[in-house]
């Protein structure tokens, strides 16, 4: 069964450093998403991306965050200057369309720890 692949599975970084989280969506999917889950809290929407541009973003997704699809297979989330409160599990998801009855396929996540 096709999977969304995320790397690394766990990343530890120092406060103020830049991090790039990587995702390989399912190959025929066109819509891409990042969500995050702070330990013990809800899964929260960050951003959706379609046709090489951001289609929607949340208030969490400020100027410190950016997304890119640098080639035909990868989808990345960059955090420019990490803060302690950025520590969370970050999930990438993809879909063939935004309003489909079978939802999105999520990856297994990257656990980001900012120290």
């Amino acid at each position: 069964e096709p999977e969304v692949t995320q790397t690394p599975s766990h990343q530890v970084t120092q406060m103020g450093q830049e991090v790039i989280l990587r995702c390989v969506p399912i190959s025929n999917h066109l819509y891409f998403y990042w969500y995050r889950q702070i330990l013990g809290q809800k899964v929260e929407f960050l951003v959706s991306f379609y046709n090489n541009e951001i289609s929607e973003k949340s208030e969490i997704f400020d100027d410190q965050f950016s997304v890119e699809r640098p080639d035909g297979s990868n989808f990345t989330l960059k955090i420019r200057s990490t803060k302690l409160e950025d520590s969370a599990m970050y999930f990438c998801a993809s879909s063939t369309g935004p309003f489909l009855p079978y939802g999105y396929t999520f990856g297994s996540g990257t656990r980001l720890t900012v120290v």
Partner: protein, 110 residues
Amino acid sequence: EDQVTQSPEALRLQEGESSSLNCSYTVSGLRGLFWYRQDPGKGPEFLFTLYSAGEEKEKERLKATLTKKESFLHITAPKPEDSATYLCAVQKDNTDKLIFGTGTRLQVFP
């Protein structure tokens, strides 16, 4: 403000002991309600989508139902492998983002 609330937070069941998980929502312009399963250290795994009040969906021991204010996930004769966190999420009209609840952590003991 849009809200999704799940109850209970945690549920312990004996194998074979049926029960229900609740998801109540206050959302303007609901497009659909989703149920996901999440295992520890993993991403959410899609279970069901419900679109209109009265709709029901079934998969193995799980059945999801929807009213205008809430959804239930009924689990019949659960097995230990059903242990997971069950997440409810809503999607509004004109947006593809999902608004999640905090989940119900289900543990099924043999």
